[in-house]
Symmetry: C2
Subunit: 576 residues, 2 copies
């Protein structure tokens, strides 16, 4: 190291560079070789001067342990080598994630993984493992996992691996702090504040005024909305409990949790039941969550809402809260917000818009009309970790009225919270949250917004919707397909049945047809997972037997991947 502290060009920097050389070798060997195998390969390099240098300083992790890393004395070099070795594993994974010649997953049953796969032992013990074993464990963890960023992974609302978001998460975990106060997270607290304001502007609240907070997910964001609605109308519940209020009723779409009575067993829908969960948790009772009828596209029918409100009032209960879903989980339906808002105004009720899945469309000039009326909502849930490709977890609850979030959740008069601190404590967020410590979820989102700009998000959204329209156009008149609902999807959800040739001649209303068709999607999905080629979700809905629910949120997906999915469904399902 020279006098100025520069040491980049000195020989003492060789080890790091060599580590990376070593690491490149790892990458090129696929994920199967153990570290020691790889080390053998390393030594077998028959090349010249540069290889001599690689050899000289490659690190043997087999006799190194966590205790040898920082803060251990002289632990710096080992720490750097270990982290770079890990980064080699991770960047290799990133590379393969985007490579269509790799599998989406290498499926194993729970008992297989629990029995231990070729030295991958999940059990914990009293004694430490070597860093070599730890690195092998890291590779195995990735090897037996699911590549959610793979261009052919369509299984969840959250897909994709955004490189800027990933960088943001790596930095967040390196900073390892907590959103509780400005004192320990000054930059992140301000980023959260500015980003929430920007989101409120997109919702259309005047000057982006209002409040909000990032929460650990959409279900908790929705839970916040119910809590603040209750606090707004019945603040005494905070101190006295639910007995201080009349019987309070919440309203949400029936497209949240459906019982489907099939011949042999009841099948339940995996869908977004967060309002029901909130109702149960917060002491309303799930029976006081009234489900609203929907049209054939899965959109709440406003007249049904009004009728049910009147019914509830007639019983002497108090209609408190309506959830309008903007992008339902299965159909991608957008409830008609303006018409619902009219009714909420008429009956003085809280209007929440659950845009967990749909929120991203607010960024698209082409598609944001589906949110028409959202500026009339009292609160909005918006999960950037879904449609916008931000890594999990990243969900915001946005509130039109300032101060009500802290009013609802503060236990210790937040505005007087350590007023003897030297900075403006109005920036401390702890008193607004139901959490105490709170993970930094903002940075990756902020960084992605910086890196893409609003227009980058818009392009991503528009592209995903175009792709889903491509799928819709491709299959709607194709032999062997039937759409679950008619018309261009509002979001990227395309719901369809694949009907194998053996079923095509059967009477569609017959019990036999329904029974057989119900088994098709699960069978195709199981084969997809076994072969590891692609993943897409399925479920029943209401009286409808199992169908595929395709969603596109993955920025890596192309038309050719949609084509691949259809080919794969036909390949696997043709002979069923």
């Amino acid at each position: 190291m020279d006098a100025a502290g520069n040491r980049a060009c000195s020989p003492s920097r060789a080890p790091l560079c060599n580590t990376l050389g070593f690491l490149q070798k790892n990458n090129s060997l696929g994920e199967e070789g153990s570290l020691s195998e790889r080390q053998k390969n390393l030594y077998s390099c028959d090349n010249s001067d540069r290889d001599a240098r690689f050899r000289r300083t490659e690190t043997d992790f087999s006799n190194m342990f966590a205790r040898d890393l920082l803060p251990a004395k002289n632990g710096e070099e080992a720490t750097m080598q270990f982290l770079l070795e890990l980064v080699g594993i991770l960047t290799n994974y990133v590379r393969k994630t985007f490579d269509r010649s790799t599998k989406v997953l290498d499926f194993h049953h729970p008992h297989q993984l629990l029995e231990g796969m070729e030295g991958f032992n999940l059990e914990l013990s009293d004694q430490p493992e070597s860093l070599e074993q730890i690195l092998v464990d890291c590779r195995d963890t990735l090897k037996y996992g699911v590549r959610t960023g793979h261009p052919r992974f369509f299984n969840q609302l959250s897909t994709g691996l955004d490189i800027i978001g990933l960088a943001g998460e790596w930095l967040t975990s390196t900073a390892n702090t907590n959103m509780f106060t400005y004192e320990i997270a000054p930059v992140f607290v301000l980023m959260e504040q500015l980003t929430l304001k920007k989101m409120r502007e997109m919702i259309g609240w005047p000057s982006g005024e209002g409040d909000g907070i990032f929460s650990p997910g959409g279900a908790i964001s929705n839970m916040y909305s119910v809590m603040i609605a209750r606090y707004k109308y019945f603040p005494e519940v905070k101190t006295k409990g639910m007995s201080a209020a009349p019987r309070l009723v919440l309203f949400t779409s029936e497209h949240v949790c459906h019982l489907f009575m099939f011949r042999y067993f009841p099948v339940f829908l995996q869908s977004h039941y967060s309002i029901k969960k909130a109702g149960a948790a917060l002491g309303f009772g799930s029976e006081n969550v009234v489900l609203l009828s929907t049209d054939e596209r899965g959109r709440v029918i406003p007249a049904d809402l009004e009728a049910k409100i009147l019914d509830v009032k007639q019983k002497g209960y108090h209609p408190l809260f309506v959830n309008a879903t903007a992008g339902s989980t299965v159909y991608g339906a957008f409830d008609p917000i303006n018409e619902i808002a009219d009714i909420c105004e008429k009956y003085d009720m809280w209007l929440h818009v659950d845009g967990a899945w749909g929120g991203g469309l607010l960024m698209s000039r082409k598609h944001r009309h589906k949110f028409s009326g959202v500026e009339r909502a009292n609160s909005v849930t918006w999960n950037p970790h879904k449609m916008m490709g931000v890594p999990l977890q990243c969900s915001a609850i946005l509130v039109r009225e300032k101060g009500i979030l802290a009013g609802c959740n503060s236990m210790c008069a937040g505005y007087l919270f350590q007023p003897d601190k030297q900075y403006d404590v109005s920036y401390d967020t702890g008193d607004k949250a139901i959490q105490c410590g709170r993970h930094v979820d903002i940075f990756k989102f902020w960084l992605m917004w910086k890196a893409k700009g609003t227009i980058g998000f818009e392009q991503h959204i528009d592209k995903c919707l175009d792709l889903s329209q491509y799928l819709y156009d491709k299959i709607r008149n194709r032999q062997g397909y039937e759409m679950v609902f008619q018309g261009v999807p509002q979001h990227t959800n395309v719901c369809f049945w694949y009907i194998p040739p053996s079923l095509r001649g059967l009477e569609h209303n017959s019990e036999e047809y329904r029974e057989k068709l119900h088994k098709v999607a699960p069978k195709i999905k199981a084969m997809m997972m076994e072969s590891g080629t692609t993943m897409v979700g399925y479920q029943p809905q209401g009286q409808k037997v199992n169908f595929f629910r395709m969603v596109v949120s993955n920025p890596a997906a192309l038309q050719s991947d949609i084509d691949f999915l259809i080919d794969e469904i036909e390949r696997l399902g043709h002979d069923l």
Copy 2:
């Protein structure tokens, strides 16, 4: 690349190695230089062949954007270079975190950061920024943040930067999946299951049987405990709401949220008020959270609990739940679990042990006796992200009775949840959680446990408690110090006043003394933050004016850092 796919020794691998060379240069320049400055330095390297290679492939990020990274066509090289450049920034930060010659923080007021610090602009815009700017933003974000892993950061219960934990988080964010089902997180779901079992074994439940889940933090874990207690005794509340039960009462230590009436303004204590928050959120009402008197060490007095239960019963209310704190936030007090368990048995109440902060002591043969009786609890909160140094967030709620967690939270008959999947769906965790999507919090913890072994955690715990005893021994008879409570602390919390010479002659019970002393800790803390040398928390408690609350959970801290803290308090406070 050769036929076997090896390309480590081929010239085609040079760019990565060169990038790292570039990255090393960055590290050596400190965080102040901009990327372009660093590039100038890079070019000024006057060294030989190797530097020629460094020069040849260094990347100019100023004309590159997020859209040039994967999944862009031919985006692989740019992606690797960008990630490695970022890793250079992060490893540089890691190195400096452990370097005592760097500051803990570089304090700025909110308005200063909002106005923009030397090109660090927090505002978001429509257009994308270059990757060069993104990298600069990353460095600035770290620069203006707080080094929570610094050996002299003592401000929170969560401190330290564990390298294995960090590696675990980097991998977790690269895998970017969700704990909802085995289908998309097979390895992580099994790791969670095995780790929770291991934790239950340490609690002492027979064969580690029971249930549990990782949640986004201690407050939410505690909220789970209240929900499942209610479900156990009054399951009908889930469907019918709180009106289906009598008035339910929760009991917890008064050391949770104290009003301190000072002369000019009320001051509230920053402490762990999560049971009160849960009571308010879940519809019990905060007035139905009864606070229990504590002894001079902050431990709940069992006789007071029994008296208050009788009082509640006499009023016709139903005593439901007792929270015994194992490691209180301010005093580090452990409530007497066995005596509380006797009372809970007598009155048929749910016993929860909040070991969010204390949980780690279960890993220490020397200190686990403080948890004596914990095996009698119905549920336990344990946050590995506090005392055990696991990166945020990592909190578990552990439950003795199997099935009750799903019973309480499932909305869709979890056991029948997509029974047509091809694997054993009992591994799907979604129906147990109040969340839908759930972040992977397990991997970093599992990896740390693998890497350290149980004995590694034990050594860490014992060392931290030894250090706090060192501090206690050092100051308890030292001139100018007064302990807030007498006796060796049960946890690493050491609470004390520093009394500047100007106050030492005053009558300790006088209003003047109390008023002046109340201002000492805030003033010293503000100066600490301005100088950036160290950070430690302070607060009032009950009738006690502001005091320092020192905690040790940082694995990097040494006796010399404790000495430094005391020297610093005296240096800054001597002339107050």
